[in-house]
Symmetry: C2
Subunit: 373 residues, 2 copies
């Protein structure tokens, strides 16, 4: 990828996170020679105080609805038509709510540059036909016929807009695209590590929400800091095993990145999944009631993810290898009581026998030594 033609970037999405990213990308594009100054941002048109949102953004350089109080660089241009915004882009950054991704991709198919690359910032996944997890980046690649990398990490849109120091992980298989994407995204306060392990990065972003429900249950049951730490750790180990089973080729080291351990920690100590799950235990209300009460009816990701993961585990007859994920699903759906939670993980596969690991490249095999005396 030669530096002759500066790359054009389009941000598809303009909510809280999209706008925070636009602020960063716009500044980087203005400074870096290998990026075209003009950054387009697809904005779903709305009327705000009698005026078009795209006009407000282009005149005042502020997304007054979704990121008020922060100036966007003037080289970021709000565009109300997604094809118009994306058609000349070399890099498409997707940051819309996941339910819109298929429609957007259908609209864009055949209308974008054939060598464009995508970067998905969309946490979550779509339900595969019949059940199970369909990764957003896979959907984008299938529907748009371009490679799609991912960005996931312990990030909060408001904190990033406030320029608070944090890290993020880009999962990118392409050895040249990775550093390019890092240049587009990185700042002195938003530090990027690129790994080539795309699926692992993306799956972490989905599965951590299940573990956060477990952390919330522990908080609701009043079980103490070290019980919570054990639940978080066992959850992490089930994330590792899940990737090993369903997305083979994943690397253990990727779980040490921001998308892994850092985002898991932050989600288990803050965030809505922990909070609602704690309330679930303390109030006895259903998840649905709590979604209505605490989230304005929005769907809580953790229980939804636990359900689709359970579908995948059932299909492989592997529920017993994932007792934490399975217990959380059963508690959310009322098959078990929260007070059953710890009993489900007392004899976790993690606690069986002595472990010694062989890591050859990205493969993990467990050698169980004969442990009986």
């Amino acid at each position: 990828m030669a530096c002759t033609n500066p790359k054009k970037v389009c941000i598809v999405g303009s909510g809280n996170w999209g706008s925070a990213i636009a602020k960063i990308v716009g500044n980087n594009a203005a400074q870096l020679k290998n990026l075209d100054d003009r950054v387009t941002m697809y904005v779903y048109e709305e009327i705000v105080d009698g005026k078009k949102l795209t006009e407000i953004i282009n005149e005042t350089h502020e997304n007054v609805k979704y990121l008020p109080g922060h100036k966007l660089p003037p080289n970021v241009v709000a565009v109300p038509d997604v094809v118009e915004a994306a058609k000349d882009a070399d890099i498409l950054i997707f940051v819309v709510p996941h339910q819109f991704i298929r429609t957007l991709c259908s609209t864009l198919l055949g209308k974008i540059k054939p060598n464009a690359i995508a970067l998905s910032l969309i946490k979550g996944f779509d339900r595969a036909e019949g059940g199970g997890i369909d990764l957003i980046s896979h959907i984008i690649t299938r529907h748009l016929q371009i490679p799609c990398s991912v960005l996931m990490g312990a990030n909060l849109a408001g904190e990033v807009a406030d320029e608070k120091f944090c890290e993020t992980t880009i999962g990118c298989k392409d050895i040249l695209a990775g550093p390019l994407l890092r240049d587009v995204i990185q700042t002195s306060y938003f530090r990027v590590v690129v790994v080539d392990d795309e699926d692992t990065v993306e799956v972490c972003g989905a599965l951590k929400n299940i573990v956060a429900c477990g952390a919330g249950f522990v908080d609701g049951l009043g079980l103490g800091d070290n019980t919570k730490a054990a639940v978080i750790r066992l959850g992490l180990m089930e994330m590792v095993k899940f990737v090993d089973v369903f997305y083979p080729g994943g690397k253990l080291s990727t779980f040490f990145e921001s998308c892994g351990v850092a985002d898991l920690i932050t989600t288990c100590y803050g965030g809505r999944n922990r909070k609602v799950s704690e309330a679930f235990v303390k109030t006895g209300k259903s998840i649905k009631e709590l979604e209505d009460e605490m989230l304005n009816g929005q769907k809580l990701q953790g229980p939804y993810t636990a359900e689709e993961v359970n579908y995948m585990l059932k299909n492989k007859g592997m529920e017993d290898k994932f007792p934490l994920f399975t217990a959380i699903h059963k508690i959310c759906t009322g098959l078990l009581k929260p007070s059953d939670f710890i009993d489900c993980i007392r004899n976790h596969p993690e606690h069986m026998d002595t472990k010694s690991y062989d890591y050859q490249s990205s493969q993990k095999s467990y050698h169980r030594s004969s442990s009986k005396l």
Copy 2:
């Protein structure tokens, strides 16, 4: 190690943690055929309400001074003389404050069974001659001439005595001793994973306290959840690198055990290092003043560990490879201000280039792809 003669266990130490462990070991010894019922516990004799502590324990089966409110099994026998307590033991569990270990070992040398094995529960380390870290298990092995395994994890004596669910890690090289030690220690609420990576397990227990100081600085500076998660993650990566440099042969997977990520999390969200470091930022007082004020004059482990680690890094000219450990040391000693902390880690080695890891057995090598366009 045949099952013909039941193994005798001696617990060297009887404080809060030692007594909580004695409760567990006593119960296991009474139930398991391969363990002798009688478990001795070396108790430093004191007079409590006019009576000898060993007598109180042996009559009431309660360590009224160090673990009040919990019954010890009657087969645990308090012994005021350490040689008497240890001389017939096959397994010696060390759980005394680390400053006493050398003296105790000198007293025991030549007085214990030649084939005895040791298990150290002692978090911390001793200062090596001149400076740097001398692991407690290494001191025990040097002074007692017996192999010494370690037990470290996200554990709090009070919570374990209350039978709250948690995990712990045993680091044991010996393929038969590992499962034996697990049988001695494990219960339905105290779940043990055995790994063969002894030094890594022990080093984690020491280094996490440095990272906890960093977490405390972030809290004191009011920097937000994701900044804290980034600091914890970068601290973990420096722990990994430290082991790689100073205790080669360590395994990445061991950092996923309770002794690694779980204990780190719990220490960075609770614990005295975080608390005092937060106060350090908010009050402007020195570490010494805060030790006197908040810890009754006890020494805070984090700054002390940071100092000895810094000694080791300086000797290898590697301070720049460990910017977080180095910054924490400099802040504790007043060379830098807390507000300098984040600037020190903006360009962490973690953020340089694209990472791809090759893991062949326990070796880690970083292959840096050409990232410049």
